[in-house]
């Protein structure tokens, strides 16, 4: 870990301004991802801005019948919130499928969205990795790639985004609210928030330098059976091999997003038209342009079968 300076910001605008004053700075929320990466010198900020005191830790109703989740709401609190559990069950389920109780107590909504990939080559600074060191190559391509992405990949990077929460937010059509150093605020649809790797895998999201997430909003609840199915090698405390977030209505229509298959939560709205025709049809559209490696090709079949099981469960769960 490199030496760094540290400050506690008082307001969101302060925090964003502090970031632009200090190039090479980073916000720190729960620190559960950032600090690990700093210890390994994968992240080497020279200045940390603590955003825990910004008062962004509330869950409030919005005018249009949805909810606004403060950027600093802890994963544990969000998953335990009565309204989230009732109206946005897929989100509560995705949250508790992630990490462990201890980590969820620290992890925040914004931090979770911005957590970095778990690609083991990204974590080993002796190895080539375009995401960590642009231009150094990709260790995973031709190497150990069982966990890696199967769609939306590039020749530069095949990493996945590891968040469970983000997959649920994608299926719920969430919006990310931010404030920039110049004080301007904006709303970013979750679909646009995370990037595909392309030739710049070092950039995970569309956030600009110094841009602070203030909240994530969810639109009015849409009901339906809300299921999050995470498939992994052990029963808990493991990242998803694949995951399925689904909202299925009584007539068989609905929405599906996938985790563990791409550089971002993966959703193809056009594929959802196929839902009444079953998992095979949906998966064919969802993963139409898949480019798996020999080691992770199993994910294609796994998605189809997990989705089939989710759809069957949704049928059984209809009120």
């Amino acid at each position: 870990m490199r030496p760094f300076t540290f400050e506690r910001a008082k307001t969101p605008a302060d925090a964003a301004a502090a970031a632009s004053r200090n190039p090479g700075s980073r916000f720190v929320a729960g620190g559960t991802n950032l600090l690990d990466l700093m210890k390994l010198e994968i992240e080497t900020p020279t200045h940390l801005i603590d955003v825990n005191g910004l008062g962004l830790d509330k869950i409030e109703p919005t005018e249009d019948g949805g909810v606004r989740i403060g950027a600093l709401v802890r994963n544990t609190d969000l998953s335990a919130d009565e309204r989230i559990r009732r109206d946005y069950g897929v989100l509560a389920r995705a949250l508790v499928a992630g990490a462990t109780g201890q980590l969820r107590n620290m992890a925040t909504t914004a931090g979770n969205l911005l957590q970095r990939t778990r690609c083991p080559y990204f974590y080993d600074t002796n190895q080539p990795c375009n995401k960590r060191t642009p231009g150094s190559g990709c260790g995973a391509i031709g190497g150990y790639s069982r966990q890696h992405a199967v769609v939306g990949v590039s020749d530069a990077c095949i990493a996945t985004h590891p968040s469970d929460m983000a997959v649920a937010l994608r299926v719920l059509d969430a919006t990310v609210e931010t404030i920039r150093p110049d004080g301007a605020t904006r709303k970013i649809a979750i679909a646009e928030f995370h990037r595909l790797p392309g030739d710049k895998p070092q950039i995970d999201t569309v956030l600009m330098s110094g841009e602070l997430i203030t909240a994530v909003t969810l639109p009015k609840p849409i009901g339906g059976a809300q299921i999050y199915r995470k498939v992994r090698d052990r029963a808990s405390y493991a990242f998803a091999l694949i995951s399925v977030a689904a909202i299925v209505q009584r007539d068989g229509t609905g929405r599906v997003a996938l985790g563990g298959v791409a550089h971002k939560p993966w959703r193809v709205e056009a594929a959802e038209a196929e839902m009444p025709r079953g998992a095979k049809a949906v998966t064919a559209r969802l993963l139409a342009d898949a480019k798996p490696t020999a080691e992770n090709a199993f994910k294609l079949k796994l998605v189809e079968r997990a989705l089939a099981s989710v759809l069957a469960e949704a049928k059984g769960a209809q009120p």
Partner: protein, 754 residues
């Protein structure tokens, strides 16, 4: 004391303390965080500095240049140790690769430097400033390829590389039922909780190291040899060990570099091996490729058994002895086994919990299940049909290749009887308890909602080894008995069984016994390894206590053969004297060791068991979750049923890891284990561990030692993975021969879903 005749009745047989489920005497220290582990010994030496290890970034090659300038100038840095400035270093007898590499690099993450600084953070930060240029060399990293140029290894712990009885080839060819399959087991990591850690301090030319180590005497010897100093100048202290599983049998880089760092910094230095280095820097269980061939009559009698195993290691290393159990477990007149060793430039392979049998049983016990099915026999009945009371294949050690060797020729017993063997009873007891009769022998037929249900079984087998072990016992004027031995407690419960032994022998209450372990100033014990620790270390304590009993009797003028030690008193006829009084003001101290004759050659000493497992495999995704586990063990006298049970359920959990998730994945281009942290190397978590039950058959083995005990700590892992594999087959009809059995290996062959 020499143990060369079967044990007769002795004070241990009173079973007032021994054999009773006893809570760990060190439990309160552990649960209150007051048991001092190596890295936490802040009190033992003042002014401790911190060391941080730099691991090699390539698997094989040479360091062309190492630029230390920036690191040396970094805040707080006191010294940097490299091969260039460390002075002449030898290599430990038990190390395959050097613990401090450079300029040659032998494996990935081999230590190449230690940065010593005032704080841990400064040392870590400076370590990142060291710039190294390497000349990479080509290496061999793929066992499947290197196997083709493998050779017979030197005979070692697992016996000679080859064995043959009768005519395997002829018998196999003419057998009406034949089975031939190849299995693979991956490289595995010990992944214990406490990383390797040491604090070293020099006082003149004398070195003290507070460390975490299973085998004190081995590591004293290797530390002295590596540094080129007399053994007498090295003291190792390791009273508490946060798990080892074989990973801490040897001197490792943390201890050596702490010593070198302390010398360079001229003050005490502490070093913990970073978690991310553990998998590649230290030893691991090597991967195997195993071929099993079985031939049987139509009634199910095995007539031909062949087991061949290939593994790899660095030059000068040793094989994974995966065929050991196949020489002993099942009858069969015609048989052969062979081990071959390939050169691989991966990190050093070595012992991990039940080396040999753990991976060997993973293959053999699936093969037995497959053969039973082929024969149309119940897998338990098939095993029982081929049970044997004598060792079917006990190859002689080849004569020493050293013409100067003065070692006397050992007498060889080709088919020694087992000292105790109740394998059949283990199966029968387990079958009844587990509800084996509820298993549908036709695979893929039992279902619970979305889950395919299956039941599987496998034998458990692990040899029992006896090792010389010494102890010192002191009786003081308060009647307190203090035991000192360099035996270690690696979480196994050594403290407690040693206290139980001394209490039983001296006739005092458990709380009147003090046990002090893990210090090289104490008499040399057997150490913790190969599941010999429990039986052998307590036998050493038995020997020392026998001597102390005699001394007490003699002092009081009692007849030592008739004196009764009970309730803190010594009685002889009508006379009775408190032990405290017998000890006198200055107390009494006695030391002795237990040594062994050739009972372990005249008799085959092994431990046996049966593992029963029920699994649920998700019909859609292929995720396997274990529902129930039962182990029935026959392993001699169980000294402490409570800690023995803990050992067995821990081993069952570890076996589950081997079956379902544990694998060091090899990057075959760059030659290293990719998943080198606890996020990437998955072991079972609580949510994976189901209801577990352990039954110990009531057994004593007078051939093994005066304790009449044997090992259990490794027996529990042997066979579990195969039982799970067999249960998965029973649930799904899918046979997987490559561990771990992850869902990607099932999913293509699971039944269609709607």
């Amino acid at each position: 004391m020499k143990f060369d005749m079967p044990a007769t009745t002795n004070p241990i047989d009173q079973l007032k303390v021994i054999g009773k489920a006893t809570e760990r005497i060190d439990g309160p220290l552990k649960t209150t965080g007051t048991a001092p582990y190596a890295y936490e010994r802040h009190d033992v030496a003042v002014n401790q500095a911190y060391g941080y290890i730099v691991g090699a970034a390539v698997a094989k090659g040479r360091i062309e240049s190492m630029d230390l300038t920036a690191a040396k100038a970094a805040p707080g840095v006191i010294a940097i140790v490299t091969a260039e400035n460390a002075g002449q270093l030898d290599k430990g007898n038990l190390n395959t690769a050097k613990l401090l590499g450079g300029p040659a690099v032998d494996h990935y993450h081999q230590a190449i430097a230690l940065v010593v600084a005032e704080t841990f953070e400064q040392a870590r930060s400076a370590a990142h400033l060291i710039h190294v240029d390497y000349e990479r060399a080509k290496g061999a990293f793929d066992l499947a390829i290197a196997k083709n140029s493998s050779t017979p290894p030197k005979p070692g712990f697992g016996g000679p590389p080859d064995s043959a009885v009768g005519d395997f080839v002829g018998a196999f060819e003419s057998a009406p039922f034949q089975f031939d399959a190849t299995y693979t087991t991956p490289d595995q990591s010990h992944a214990m909780m406490e990383p390797h850690a040491s604090i070293a301090a020099w006082n003149g030319d004398k070195l003290t190291v507070w460390t975490s180590n299973q085998m004190i005497a081995w590591s004293v010897g290797d530390m002295a040899k590596t540094l080129g100093i007399p053994k007498e100048n090295v003291r190792l202290i390791s009273p508490y060990v946060g798990g080892g599983f074989g990973g801490k049998l040897f001197l490792r880089a943390d201890a050596l570099l702490a010593a070198l760092g302390a010398r360079a910094a001229n003050r005490p230095v502490k070093v913990a091996l970073q978690r991310a280095l553990m998998m590649n820097n230290t030893t691991h269980r090597p991967a195997t490729i195993q071929r099993l061939r079985l031939g049987a009559t139509k009634e199910g009698k095995l007539t031909a058994i062949a087991h061949e195993s290939w593994s790899g290691d660095l030059p000068g290393g040793s094989p994974e002895t995966a065929v050991s159990q196949t020489r002993l477990l099942y009858a069969g007149a015609n048989r052969m086994t062979a081990m071959r060793l390939a050169v691989l430039d991966l990190p050093e392979g070595n012992a991990m919990r039940a080396p040999g049998e753990a991976p060997g049983m993973m293959a053999l016990e699936i093969a037995m299940d497959e053969m039973a099915e082929k024969l149309g026999l119940d897998p338990i009945e098939f095993r029982i049909l081929n049970d044997t009371q004598v060792a079917p294949d006990n190859p002689a050690k080849p004569p020493s290749s050293d013409p100067q060797s003065k070692a006397p020729e050992e007498k060889h017993y080709p088919h020694p009887p087992f000292s105790q063997r109740r394998l059949t009873e283990c199966f029968r007891t387990g079958a009844e308890r587990f509800g084996w009769n509820k298993r549908n022998p036709v695979p893929g037929k039992s279902r619970e909602g979305h889950w395919l249900m299956g039941i599987g079984v496998a034998a458990a087998f692990r040899n029992n080894l006896v090792m010389k072990s010494a102890a010192r016992v002191r009786l003081d004027n308060k009647g307190v008995v203090t035991v000192e031995t360099d035996m270690t407690d690696i979480g196994t419960g050594s403290y407690t069984i040693i206290a139980q032994t001394a209490a039983e022998m001296m006739g005092v209450a458990l709380h009147q016994v003090v046990v002090r372990l893990g210090d090289s100033d104490f008499p040399v014990s057997c150490g913790s390894g190969g599941q010999w620790g429990g039986n052998s270390s307590t036998s050493g304590v038995y020997a020392a206590c026998m001597k102390l009993r005699e001394a007490v009797a003699q002092k009081l003028g009692f007849d030592s053969t008739k004196a009764v030690f009970a309730d803190g008193q010594v009685r002889d006829g009508g006379r009775s004297t408190p032990l405290a009084q017998a000890a006198g003001e200055s107390g009494l101290v006695m030391e002795d060791a237990m040594e062994y004759g050739d009972l372990d050659k005249k008799y085959q000493q092994s431990t046996f068991g049966a593992h029963f497992v029920e699994v649920a495999v998700h019909a859609s995704t292929g995720e396997t979750r274990v529902r129930r586990m039962l182990a029935v063990c026959a392993a001699g006298r169980i000294l402490n049923p409570k800690s023995a049970r803990s050992q067995v359920i821990g081993a069952m959990t570890m076996g589950m890891g081997a079956a379902l998730m544990e694998e060091l994945t090899v990057d075959k281009r760059h030659g290293f284990f990719v998943n080198h942290d606890l996020a990437g190397y998955e072991v079972p978590v609580h949510a994976d561990v189901p209801h577990q039950e352990v039954i110990f058959l009531d057994e004593t083995d007078p051939i093994s030692s005066p304790m009449k005990a044997k090992g259990v700590g490794e027996l529990g892992i042997c066979g579990v993975a195969a039982a799970i594999a067999n249960a998965i087959y029973n649930a799904t009809g899918v046979r997987v021969r490559d561990y771990p059995i992850t869902l990607d290996k099932l999913i293509d062959r699971l039944p269609e879903v709607a």
